[in-house]
Amino acid sequence: MTPDKQINDYLSQLRAALKGMTVSEREDIVEEIRMHIRERMADPQCSLDAVFAGLGPAHELAQQYRTGVLVQRARTSISPVVILRAALRWATTGIEGFIVFVIAIIGYATGVIFLLLALMKPFFPANTGLWVGPNEFNFSIRMGATMTNPASPVHEVLGWWLIPVCLVLGSLSLALTTKLLQFLMGRFRWKVPFSAATHTRPAMMTL
């Protein structure tokens, strides 16, 4: 394979892996990497293999770009979809990201469950509620004819107040989760690989 063909193959792979970006963003990145390769190859002592080794595989390079864009978007976005995608990507980088992802799932799930409860109350008034009784604190939803409501002394306490209470708690959960995750996204940092093999001086810092 000729060097030109190798370079074009690498850039094609990079372009294909940079999905989810605008065409101009993507072409800008591909052009910058193309110029980087050309600049490095101007040095006769530099081999194409060394350049590719420095850049890493095309899909990994694209992944770093995409993680950056995704995390950046998640820091200002209020869309749970964007935030969850960023958290999921972060989760693939280690335990820290995994914890953030779990927080995201729990937070959003809590919010959604509260909102669902509020939504179901008008349709299943007898089976939706906050039941309190001796030796029991049971916040639950009972659905269907097969389920029986708890017998006295366990009783429902909220009545129709369940709807506003659940709406407020649900919205709060969603808002707090979003705020917390935006804050955490601001603390996202890359793991920085050092090109230690090609380097003689000690890498003093682990970033």
Partner: protein, 112 residues
């Protein structure tokens, strides 16, 4: 390592003027022995740009091909300044902590 050290290094490398990717790598290596892989610097620059800390511009160079130059924005300068101050404080505090360690080492080297 304290968070943001890498951002600080990249922003600081641009303090004296605009540079393109490969130059930033060389400046970091020359001035701070920080060696980043080439595959690391470009995504970071892209992120700093989307954060509004640097801006980029394609410049037709003498080399016969264009280069993408990066330059600090006003926000980028502020951020670099704050980070540098925080870093200096952190480093001074750590200096106090490790001073006895260095002194202890000398004592071992020169037994009475």
């Amino acid at each position: 390592m304290r968070k943001g050290c890498l951002e600080m290094a990249v922003l600081a490398s641009l303090w004296r003027g605009r540079l393109y990717g490969l130059e930033i790598l060389r400046v970091l290596e020359r001035d701070s022995s920080l060696v980043l892989s080439e595959g690391t610097i470009y995504p970071i620059l892209n992120r700093l740009r989307t954060e509004g800390l640097v801006q980029s511009e394609w410049v037709e160079a003498d080399a016969g091909h264009p280069r993408k130059y990066y330059e600090l924005t006003g926000t980028g300068r502020d951020r670099a300044t704050h980070m540098a101050e925080a870093w200096t404080q952190f480093s001074a505090a750590l200096g106090c902590l490790i001073e006895p360690v260095l002194n202890g080492q000398r004592k071992v080297e020169q037994p009475q």
